[in-house]
């Protein structure tokens, strides 16, 4: 077997599992697709339109200037979030969201809240280095 062919065989045995893994993830998503969640979906686009992720995190991913918003909906409530959206803060500008945008965004945050807990304290650390929630 030539040197090049040996390397191609190794590449093949890496590519096949990679593509299978990718295909598996695409077809068997962690959460089943729900086409009825149109308003939550619109809320996600509002989140992206105003680049909220620049300052806020969801599940610990995003910016560091503001708090993680994963479970903010249940922790602080809708009115509290609405107040921040309307007035802004020292660092956060007033985005002048329309009422529809505000409602969609709130539904999106509610949906995130229902998806799980991001608080690291809720994880159990095992001796083999893994974690459980």
């Amino acid at each position: 077997m030539s040197v090049n062919r040996k390397k191609l065989v190794v590449l093949f045995f890496l590519l096949v599992p990679f593509l299978s893994y990718t295909g598996l993830l695409y077809t068997d998503m962690p959460v089943t697709y729900n086409p009825e969640k149109k308003e939550e979906d619109a809320g996600k686009l509002v989140w992206q339109k105003y680049n909220c992720n620049a300052c806020h995190q969801v599940y610990g991913l995003g910016g560091y200037l503001g708090p993680d918003l994963t479970n903010e909906y249940s922790l602080k409530g809708e009115e509290y979030i609405k107040a921040f959206l309307i007035t802004g803060t020292g660092a956060m500008p007033q985005f002048h969201l329309t009422e529809t945008e505000t409602n969609f965004l709130l539904l999106f945050l509610k949906d995130i809240d229902a998806s799980g807990m991001s608080d690291p304290k809720t994880f159990t650390r095992n001796y083999d280095g893994t974690i459980e929630q």
Partner: protein, 467 residues
């Protein structure tokens, strides 16, 4: 025997490096502005609030890496094959597409136009020209490569980077389909699958070019075909494909994603072990080649690879990651990787590629050296300040006392001040390095213009000479 190269396509390849350096210069200023907004939250808030400054910084520096990586591959490919690039027109179109797209992206941020996700915050319409530009890059690369027989490891790395970047870039836009976007868990899972591998893809381009450069400096052509080089390449590829899950250990996604990532990440210990094993020979090689400006940057990157890899391996253990995730320790890791590794490697490459200009760097060497030490020392302080801020935030995250977020941020303030001050020193150090590079190119360009002739094609006979 290597054929002489026409300098026209090499000049276009150099333009990618020059454009990248300009983006770096601008991106660092946005970075400083963002760091200042941590201390003075309403600083220029009416004009450039943080949600604009952050993507301006991130996109500028990400495109510095992408432009310089493209420039290095295009230049070294021509030196490797001894031939001009297949299509100079495609090359110019590729450059034009990328330059115009990036300019439009930066302007759109200033106007508050977003629509994308973290790291690619620009409106998704800009993704299309970027993907087309990348496809042109792939076509030109494949057509210029010639024979596929007995390719050295750096060509394998370039090919891997080229195809995986395109794949992961397109994958990162699957959110455009509601099926992928509709649930936050699905969306984040696919987002970080693509991002984790995408970083690995541009690393393949940069590390491949760095290996090519090391061969040029040392004159030793054996490494490119050595079994250990391929073993490390396949380890890197294995990690590129499967270790992205460490970004989402705390996300309620498939458990197998996390287990696979944890197991695969541990193979990086092999790379870490090799760095430690090679330390002595690296130091003696450093002494031998220390007079090369390019080599010095490679050496600095070597040290940062060690520090960053150490942190990355620790963060790949879920039980440690649960503390560091969402804290500034993650930022420290990113800064170590993008500044300490990627930027230093790309600067080494930039010095090698841009040294063939109409004037030598000898007059600026003193300042470049000062910049080199300033950048390295300040980067270390910068890195430590982020780790310290991260440790405090981790402590706050794990604490049962309900201290408000704003109070915690005030406690982190001393480290943000240190971060900002060391950031100024870091940017100053980088400017001392990149200004001479850019000035030389500008002088040569205007000299050529004033002599009313375009730079004539010349034979690059000193292609493998040192600076």
């Amino acid at each position: 025997m290597m054929e002489p190269l026409n300098s026209n396509t090499l000049s276009t390849s150099k333009l990618f490096i020059i454009a990248g350096l300009l983006l770096l210069a601008v991106g660092m200023l946005f970075g400083l502005t963002g760091a200042l907004q941590y201390l003075v939250p309403d600083f220029i808030k009416q004009y450039l609030s943080f949600e604009k400054v952050r993507p301006l910084h991130v996109s500028s520096v990400v495109f510095w890496i992408i432009f310089a990586a493209m420039g290095s591959v295009l230049t070294f490919l021509q030196q490797y094959s001894g031939k001009e690039i297949f299509s100079p027109i495609l090359l110019r179109i590729q450059f034009g597409i990328f330059t115009m797209s990036v300019l439009a992206i930066l302007v759109s941020y200033c106007w508050g136009v977003f629509g994308g996700r973290e790291y690619w915050e620009f409106h998704p319409v800009f993704a299309l020209p970027l993907a087309i530009g990348w496809i042109l890059f792939i076509v030109n690369f494949l057509k210029s490569l010639g024979s596929f027989q007995n390719l050295p490891v750096y060509v394998w790395m370039w090919l891997t980077g080229l195809f995986f970047f395109l794949f992961t870039f397109m994958e990162s836009y699957l959110w455009l389909f509601p099926y992928f976007r509709n649930n936050i868990i699905n969306d984040i899972t696919i987002q970080w699958k693509s991002y984790g591998s995408m970083v690995g893809s541009w690393n393949m381009l940069i590390y491949g070019s760095s290996i090519f450069l090391m061969e040029k400096i040392s004159g030793n052509k054996k490494y490119g075909h050595a079994p250990i080089a391929f073993l490390l390449y396949f380890t890197g590829l294995f990690n590129l494909m499967f270790n992205w899950g460490h970004h989402i250990y705390t996300l309620p996604t498939h458990a197998f994603v996390k287990h696979i990532s944890y197991a695969v990440s541990m193979t990086e210990l092999f790379i870490l072990g090799r760095i430690i094993w090679q330390w002595k020979s690296s130091v003696s090689a450093a002494r031998k080649h220390y007079h090369h400006t390019a080599y010095r940057f490679l050496m600095a990157a070597d040290l940062w690879i060690f520090l960053t890899l150490l942190l990355a391996i620790a963060m790949s253990i879920p039980a440690i990651n649960v503390y560091t995730h969402g804290t500034h320790i993650t930022v420290a890791h990113t800064m170590g990787a993008t500044i300490g590794i990627n930027s230093f490697l790309l600067l080494a490459i930039a010095f090698d590629i841009l040294k063939d200009s109409c004037m030598p760097f000898s007059k600026s060497l003193k300042w470049i050296n000062r910049g080199y030490y300033m950048a390295n020392v300040s980067l270390f302080i910068f890195w430590i300040s982020l780790i310290m801020a991260g440790i405090l935030k981790a402590k706050w995250q794990m604490s049962d006392a309900k201290i408000p977020f704003s109070t915690m941020m005030l406690q982190l303030r001393p480290y943000f001040i240190l971060f900002f001050i060391s950031g100024i020193a870091l940017v100053s150090g980088f400017y001392l390095i990149i200004v001479p590079l850019l000035r030389n190119q500008a002088i040569c360009y205007y000299r050529a213009l004033s002599q009313k002739h375009v730079v004539k094609p010349h034979k690059i006979s000193a292609m493998y000479t040192m600076d």
